[in-house]
């Protein structure tokens, strides 16, 4: 990279460390300060409760002019997250604003776990079930959480 790490990224990292978001940890990679190892705890009351979900977050060269790239590493049964862990979240796409931050992105993802939105799906089959038979969808989501997100 031509220039050193922008001051904004340094400050955001410092603040994430000093005042972490409850239920979320984000730690920069030792070799790449633009790459973060993220862990999100499944929100209480959601089918993901009790699960620990690993994500990766990358700040592209143009950050904050372009959105961070975020992906679930842990398998999750959610209408807005696909098999590859890609997330359907407007602020990560066209609704991105440079005034948003890593912190706000992670909070939005946490909120997405609490409130799945099957009307704007990324994983079509999951969304379909969520709409047709929500209790069954929630049951599967719980099961997936136990299977994939609880084995430390």
């Amino acid at each position: 990279m031509a220039a050193g790490l922008p001051r904004r990224i340094i400050k955001e990292t410092q603040r994430l460390m000093a005042e972490p978001v409850p239920g979320i940890s984000a730690v920069p990679d030792e070799t790449n300060a633009r790459y973060f190892h993220v862990v999100v705890a499944g929100p209480e009351g959601s089918p993901f409760e009790g699960g620990v979900f690993k994500l990766e977050l990358f700040l592209p060269e143009e950050y904050p002019m372009s959105a961070p790239k975020v992906r679930f590493m842990t398998k999750i049964y959610h209408p807005n997250i696909d098999k590859l862990g890609r997330i359907c979240l407007d602020i990560l796409k066209d609704k991105w604003s440079p005034a948003l931050q890593i912190r706000t992105v992670l909070l939005s993802i946490q909120a997405l776990l609490s409130a799945p939105n099957p009307d704007d799906p990324l994983a079509n089959d999951v969304a379909e079930l969520w709409k047709v038979n929500e209790s069954e969808a929630i049951r599967i989501a719980r099961e997936w959480t136990r299977t994939y997100a609880m084995g430390n």
Binding site: M1, A2, A3, P6, R7, R8, K11, E12, E61, E62, P64, M65, S66, S97, P98, A99
Partner: protein, 713 residues
């Protein structure tokens, strides 16, 4: 008018914020000069006036003209003495003083301004009311006003910078300024709310209740000059002149440069019968007034002067006809108390002349008036000292430096700008966001207008507030910015300082290259070239098999001018200059950069010069010949783009890029850009001549063949 003061002085300055509804713009549209009244014609020297008076005897019109003349040339004291003399001799009416008062006011104002006493302003206050900013609105020019003041005054230009205002309704409260003002001067802000309640009570004729609310407001904001002034006004209306004077004096102490305070003071003084002090205060008001029409103040000054002179001259009395002096202490002396009853009419001219025969036609010294004028000067000096020392106090305990952090770069704001939606960012940070989106980064409101107007006015309040409360941080932030600029400005100076690379086309030395810049990364790049002052960047042609997708050789483009479109795109007119070879490629904030070596032609050994000259002349001749032979429409098109072939420079073989005409011919020849690139990178003039020679011969042969082919078809 809701209230009339004592029946003597009409309130030029009604209660703050209350009366614009009743009196829309009446102050603004008045002519500043009274219409010229018929005079005896202009006489241009003191001697002529005095001779006229001596020869033709006293004449009130001549006296008034004489007094006006003296005021105009700055002899205000003498002017007043002439007037006093006139008052002694004649029954005068206020309107006779209009012209001379106008001249006095103009002179004292000019005198005050010529001595550098103007433009008092505390940037942390509203430029309209000079009070604490209430619902602060930042205008496109960067100056911040109370929302109410903007609405009330219906300004068409900014009072500070004369920026023309339009469409203010879309501007929202400046969020940061509002936050900071509330934190630093919360008491005063509360005072404004109470003051407004008080003003409403005044509008509803509930003066007693208004005073009580004003009293509460004074507890929150004891230094609020507007509150003090309003309370003074109401107290005066209620007949409490002493209290009104006390409040007016307090307002003057809080804002010694505020004209209205003196007006209130003068009104109270008048009611208390202190005509000299009232005259002085009115005059101070006239000197300091910057925005309202002076006409109404001049009228008040004329009345004040009239009272003053009438009382003064009546106390002198008359000795020549044995009448004893007649002291007038009543508020309005009877119109004839200073002159014999029979002489108050202009008709009895004979009687008057008789009466005047014993009196000098020329005025005598009046020490009393001299004292009045000296007191005025002394007061203005005092004002000067008090005014320059005024600053709005900030309690540093209430400071939160994080307020001044830019939400985009997380650093302290540098050159803070404010969007119409009221959000503030570093100018460069917001510009960069606007490359990507026309919405505010914080609230997503469209700020196309901001972009289209290409504003860059810094929000003065924020900048000054920061410099006041955190000077060290500001210096450090400025240093950071300058360091970044220096870094950009050093582009290409050495291998460590990379040049920005634009990948679009093959640019050729000396040839102009207009570019349509629309990609966010290139908008940023061009802006940086301009802000850092380099005004140049590298242009490389895209190359599929090249590293990072572009060629390893290129040409610097110098920016000639830029035309912006409303949506932030631009047409950048450039011209090719130095050639370069890329050493290493990189990326910065989304655009390409590279470390480069600049190319220049190899030095030509003296023994090959003859050969170079010979080949050069041949190729040059061939090129001219070929160009002449081109079909006329094509030729016109070429000429309109590239203009005429440059003439051959003297000692062209010593120029780093060789002769310019060769680049011109490379640009117009129908060549594949890869061939152009191979010519560009060639640093041997001889070899470039050879290649161009070969190409020209091919092109000419093809051209000769073509008509034959066409004929055969």
């Amino acid at each position: 008018m809701t209230v009339v003061v004592g029946g003597t002085v009409s309130p030029l300055y009604p209660c703050h914020e209350t009366t614009c509804l009743q009196e829309p713009h009446s102050k603004m549209n008045l002519p500043s000069e009274p219409p010229e009244r018929p005079t005896l014609g202009r006489i241009f020297s003191r001697e002529t006036y005095e001779r006229t008076l001596k020869e033709k005897g006293p004449n009130p019109d001549v006296y008034v003209c004489y007094a006006s003349y003296l005021a105009e040339v700055g002899q205000v004291m003498d002017s007043l003495e002439v007037l006093a003399h006139t008052y002694k001799l004649y029954t005068m009416t206020t309107d006779k003083l209009d012209q001379v008062v106008s001249k006095i006011v103009e002179y004292v104002r000019q005198d005050w301004r010529e001595n550098g006493h103007c433009g008092y302003r505390n940037v942390l206050s509203c430029p309209c009311c000079w009070g604490v900013l209430n619902d602060p609105i930042t205008l496109p020019c960067g100056h911040t006003y109370c929302r109410r003041c903007l609405l009330k005054e219906a300004l068409t230009t900014c009072r500070v910078c004369q920026y023309k205002l339009a469409n203010l309704s879309n501007i929202k409260v400046n969020v940061l300024v509002c936050e900071v003002v509330g934190r630093w001067w919360g008491g005063e802000v509360k005072g404004v709310t109470l003051r407004t309640q008080g003003n409403n009570l005044v509008n509803n004729h509930n003066l007693q209740a208004a005073v009580e609310v004003y009293n509460h407001a004074a507890v929150c904001a004891p230094q609020d000059h507007l509150l003090l002034s309003n309370r003074s006004h109401v107290l005066h209306t209620l007949g409490c002149a002493e209290e009104a004077l006390r409040d007016a004096e307090a307002a003057v102490r809080c804002r010694p440069e505020w004209a209205k305070g003196y007006f209130r003071k003068a009104v109270a003084l008048t009611s208390l019968g202190r005509f000299e002090d009232a005259f002085i205060s009115f005059l101070q008001c006239a000197v300091l007034e910057e925005f309202n029409s002076l006409q109404s103040i001049k009228d008040e000054i004329a009345k004040a002067l009239h009272r003053l002179l009438k009382r003064l001259t009546s106390s002198w009395g008359f000795s020549m006809d044995g009448r004893s002096s007649h002291h007038c202490h009543s508020y309005f002396p009877s119109p004839t108390c200073s002159v014999p009853p029979e002489s108050d009419s202009e008709d009895s001219e004979d009687g008057r002349q008789q009466y005047l025969s014993g009196t000098s036609a020329l005025p005598e010294k009046v020490p009393h008036l001299r004292k009045v004028l000296e007191k005025f000067k002394h007061e203005m000096e005092k004002n000067k000292k008090a005014s320059t020392g005024y600053v709005r106090c900030i309690d540093l305990d209430k400071l939160d430096k994080n307020d001044f952090e830019c939400t985009l770069c997380f650093r302290y704001l540098y050159e803070p700008v404010t969007t119409p939606c009221g959000h503030s960012f570093c100018r460069t940070c917001l510009d960069r966001c606007l490359d990507h989106s026309t919405n505010c980064p914080l609230c997503k409101t469209s700020i196309r207008v901001y972009l289209a107007e290409r504003r860059s006015a810094v929000t003065e309040f924020i900048e000054v507030a920061m410099k006041t409360v955190m000077p060290n941080e500001c210096v450090e932030r400025k240093r950071q910015h300058e360091e970044e600029m220096d870094e950009l400005a050093a582009a290409g100076k050495d291998p460590h300082h990379e040049i920005p690379i634009f990948i679009a086309t093959l640019a050729i030395p000396t040839i102009s290259c207009p570019l349509h810049v629309f990609e966010p990364r290139y908008r940023l790049m061009i802006r940086r070239c301009m802000e850092s002052g380099t005004r140049e960047f590298g242009m490389c042609m895209p190359l599929e098999n090249g590293e990072n997708g572009y060629a390893d050789f290129g040409t610097m483009l110098e920016i000639r001018d830029i035309e912006y479109t409303q949506d932030g795109r631009s047409i950048v007119n450039t011209v090719g200059s130095r050639r370069f070879k890329i050493v290493s490629k990189n990326v910065k904030d989304g655009y390409n950069t590279a470390s480069v070596e600049f190319l220049q032609d190899d030095t030509i050994p003296s023994d090959s010069l003859v050969e170079i000259h010979r080949l050069h002349d041949t190729v040059h001749q061939l090129a001219s010949h070929w160009f002449d032979s081109i079909e006329s429409t094509t030729k016109r098109r070429i000429l309109s783009h590239y203009s005429l072939m440059p003439s051959v420079e003297g000692e062209y073989w010593t120029i780093p890029n060789g002769p310019a005409w060769m680049w011109w011919i490379v640009a117009i020849l129908p060549l594949d850009s890869r061939i152009q690139l191979s010519i560009l990178r060639e640093t041997s003039l001889l070899r470039r001549l050879e290649v161009i020679h070969k190409i020209l011969r091919c092109v000419i042969i093809q051209q000769c063949d073509r008509p034959a082919v066409t004929a055969s078809q």
